[in-house]
């Protein structure tokens, strides 16, 4: 509530002229920011816009080159994270910083133990936790091991850690990336509760929908500068997107209706048991036709990664596989000889993997070397016994132009490109080969809006050229925008399939949590015996 700020006088946070450069890169340029007490303040911007740098300055990881930080109206110097904590700032990172085999209680006091003996700290923390839980709806079993908690609950532990350290200001970095829609809703309820108790919350995100849903004010960053700070009620997604990118952006993917042809990929009864004996895929049946995009929705970790790896020809070592995969009617081997990434590519399967930095690219290779990656056996790249590096380089130059990869320098190492341009290198490599089937996992994770638009267009263009696309993404918006049909994966199974035109977020959200709304009518969903899946989903409690 913007009004709340006026009541309390000085704003919770005020930044004046903050600048920070890393070498020649100006990450933050003369940033001014005012966050009134008791509000939820969103900060959005593309990747590399400088959001994380700014928050790292606020949390004491970096010192600004110039500028002033005022907390509660008083200028302070934040030399390290201890100083930030003393100033009442708490941070919830995107990747949780929890000790997996400690209990919740042990994690909460970690770094805030007082005295040589643990017991007094633990019992003090137990009391504090109980109070916080009842005050803010942050129920977590203090004696549970963190590794046994769902992702949503682990996030609550992070928030509790900050509150236990008396944080008045909470910074959350992309908090919903790993949550189901229901878990995200619950998180937002908690955040609103915290705000109403007078806490100040900064939410860093790239999801416009979240900004609109929960924030009071929003600040937009672009290329290290703060380009706008507005009341959320007075703006809209289109305007924010334009501010972020600096030009008008298509938020919806424009695509003509699909004209599906013959089946390209048929998967029957696919099962996979990993080396630890855990059944990751429990009988998957899928069909994708030519000229069709099948989206696989689901919370990360429900077998999507394994599905992509098996289809891509590289299931993890020691996995046992069962079932049938057919490409254009011909069976593909599941494992063993003849089932590797190279054979799959020769059969006409392109694959943009989920993790481009670990799998899709060799980060230390140059861009041109990466353009041949996986296709380095292609005849046009050979020159007798040697590789034809000149031909590969020429090919890379063409792809750099077609995909507007920036900077257009094929000799630059992959790690020196931004996330969006790295992804463009991978997509260019896989799409320009014109595969019959494109597997594409998390195509726009960590990719800026401009590049997202471009990559989405390319995926649709491939479909319209009569190819089959299997899209796996944890971004429900992306699945809904791109897919012609949507299948939801939960616990290694396909929970249900919907036509994209008929799917709703609520419906898909239920499937993602392991509940089939068709089998459990809404009024019957409440009784405890109804659906074991709700417990496993975790967040809704």
């Amino acid at each position: 509530m913007p009004a709340a700020g006026a009541l309390h006088g000085a704003p919770a946070i005020e930044l004046r002229g903050i600048s920070k450069a890393f070498g020649p890169v100006q990450a933050n340029k003369d940033i001014d920011l005012v966050v009134p007490r008791g509000t939820i303040h969103g900060i959005i911007g593309e990747n590399g816009a400088g959001k994380s740098t700014l928050m790292s300055i606020l949390y004491g990881f970096y010192r600004p080159d110039a500028g002033e930080i005022l907390i509660g109206g008083k200028p302070i110097a934040i030399a390290d994270s201890q100083a930030a904590i003393r100033a009442g700032i708490g941070m919830v990172f995107q990747h949780f910083k929890l000790v997996q085999n400690f209990t919740v209680l042990e994690n909460v006091i970690l770094g805030a133990e007082d005295g040589g003996l643990l017991r007094p700290s633990l019992s003090r923390a137990r009391g504090a936790l109980k109070r916080l839980a009842s005050e803010y709806g942050l129920q977590v079993d203090p004696d549970a091991l963190v590794e046994e908690l769902s992702v949503g609950h682990q996030q609550r532990v992070e928030i509790l850690k900050a509150l236990y350290r008396q944080a008045d200001i909470l910074i959350l970095d992309e908090p919903t990336g790993v949550l189901t829609p229901a878990e995200a809703d619950h998180l937002f309820r908690i955040l609103r509760g915290l705000r109403d108790e007078g806490k100040t919350i900064i939410l860093i995100t790239h999801k416009l929908r979240e900004i609109m849903e929960i924030t009071d004010n929003v600040s937009v960053m672009r290329r290290g500068e703060m380009v706008a700070s507005v009341k959320t009620a007075e703006t809209g997604p289109a305007q924010l997107a334009e501010l972020m990118v600096g030009r008008k952006v298509l938020l919806r993917v424009e695509k003509p209706p699909a004209r599906p042809g013959a089946p390209v990929l048929e998967v029957r009864g696919l099962r996979m048991v990993d080396a630890d004996g855990v059944e990751r895929l429990r009988g998957i049946d899928l069909e994708i036709r030519a000229g069709e995009i099948l989206g696989i929705a689901g919370v990360a970790g429900n077998g999507q990664t394994q599905l992509l790896e098996v289809l891509g020809g590289f299931p993890e070592a020691g996995a046992k596989l069962q079932g049938e995969i057919r490409l254009n009617g011909k069976p593909l081997p599941l494992g063993g000889a003849g089932a590797d990434g190279r054979a799959r590519r020769q059969a006409g399967v392109g694959h943009v993997p989920e993790d481009r930095q670990a799998e899709g690219l060799i980060m230390d290779f140059t861009a041109w070397e990466n353009v041949a990656f996986g296709y380095h056996h292609a005849p046009e790249f050979q020159n007798g016994m040697l590789m034809d590096n000149a031909a590969i380089r020429a090919d890379a130059m063409g792809k750099i132009q077609h995909f507007d990869i920036r900077p257009p320098n094929p000799d630059l190492a992959a790690r020196n490109f931004s996330g969006g341009n790295q992804q463009k290198i991978v997509v260019a490599r896989e799409v320009e080969r014109n595969p019959d089937l494109l597997l594409i996992g998390q195509p726009t994770r960590g990719v800026d809006i401009g590049a997202i638009e471009f990559i989405h267009k390319r995926i649709v263009a491939l479909r319209d050229a009569g190819k089959a696309v299997l899209l796996v993404s944890v971004e429900l918006d992306e699945i809904m925008a791109l897919s012609d049909r949507i299948a939801v994966m939960f616990d290694g199974r396909i929970m249900g399939e919907r036509l994209a035109d008929e799917a709703t977020t609520g419906d898909l959200g239920c499937l993602m949590a392991g509940v089939d709304p068709a089998l459990t009518p809404p009024e019957a969903a409440i009784p405890p015996a109804a659906a074991p899946g709700t417990d496993a989903g975790g967040g809704a409690g």
Binding site: A21, G23, P24, V25, G312, G313, F314, D340, G341, R342, A343, R344, R345, H351, P353, D355, A358, E359, G360, L361, I362, M363, D364, F365, E369, A372, F373, G374, H376, H377, Q382, M385, L386, M387, N389, N416
Partner: protein, 364 residues
Amino acid sequence: MERMPKWADVILTPLISLALAFGISALVILAIGESPVEALKVMVQGALGSSYGWGFTLYYTTNFVFTGLAVMVAYHAGLFNIGGEGQAALGGLGVALVVLALPWPHWALALPAAAMGAALFGALWALVPAWLQARRGSHIVITTIMFNFIAAALLNYVLVNLLRPVGSMDPASARFPAAVHLPKLSDMALGLGIEWGRNTPANVTFFVAVAACVLVWLLIWHTRLGYEIRAFGKSEPAALYAGISPVRITVLAMLISGALAGLMAINNVMGEAERLMLNAVEGAGFIGIAVALMGRNHPLGVLLAALLFGFLYQGGGELALWTSIPRELIVVIQALVILFTGALDNMVRMPLERLFTALRRKGA
């Protein structure tokens, strides 16, 4: 964005590291009451001041080129081959068996055959650790170290019980026949009418070593196998994604690495000793690690670093001979060079990077 220019990375950093190592060595020499300036003079004079010195320096250099290349190839595949010592020892066995098995009419015929024997034995000695790593996950550092000891014991047994000529008290093979003696660089110079490096062990193998540098360069940066080795070395998940078999690459890279280490034997066994003796490798396998590290895992760098260590080895020997500086101190100097150029690389690199960034900002 590159942090600093390439020349600073590949030339300035090792030079500063080297200067630091020599600086501390000088302090140590001062501390035992000797003159560092005198010591440096003796070393330079002894190793580089005469064709005689060069003849030894180049001989050592040849050894270190092979073991350095061996470490380098494995390193590109993400494997730390510490077994150069054992692989080179087995390479010696390969050379001895090939040379003594047939009455070779001429060294030019014997050399390729002996080289193949050396490479084969070295490669096979690396195969077992490679296989254990690829299939069973036994750490290659541990297994290659252990294989050094096994190699020493095996060679001891073979020399004492199998290869020792009847009646000899010396645990060494028979002398190689004169026909297979490799031409020394001094003989070759004499053929051209130049008096150079008489009675020095540097021999034709030096050119084999230079050729090996070129071949390794082609392999790593211009063949599919090299591409796959580098890709696997940088990221195993990515290699799997691309259809590169980790088992195949681990085994092939280690075979090549072991073969290169084994090839060293044509220099020390066939070219110098002209028979197989115990402890013929004399630590060259371990120096190869420092050579590869300092040479930035590039064949040209390996060649230059091998030359440096050849100088240290020969100059150190001279130092022990002509001054009262004990032999152990030479080892200290070599260790300091390894420490600074290899292990403490970042100590010099990071401030340099900061310096260049600051300079650039001022320039911009």
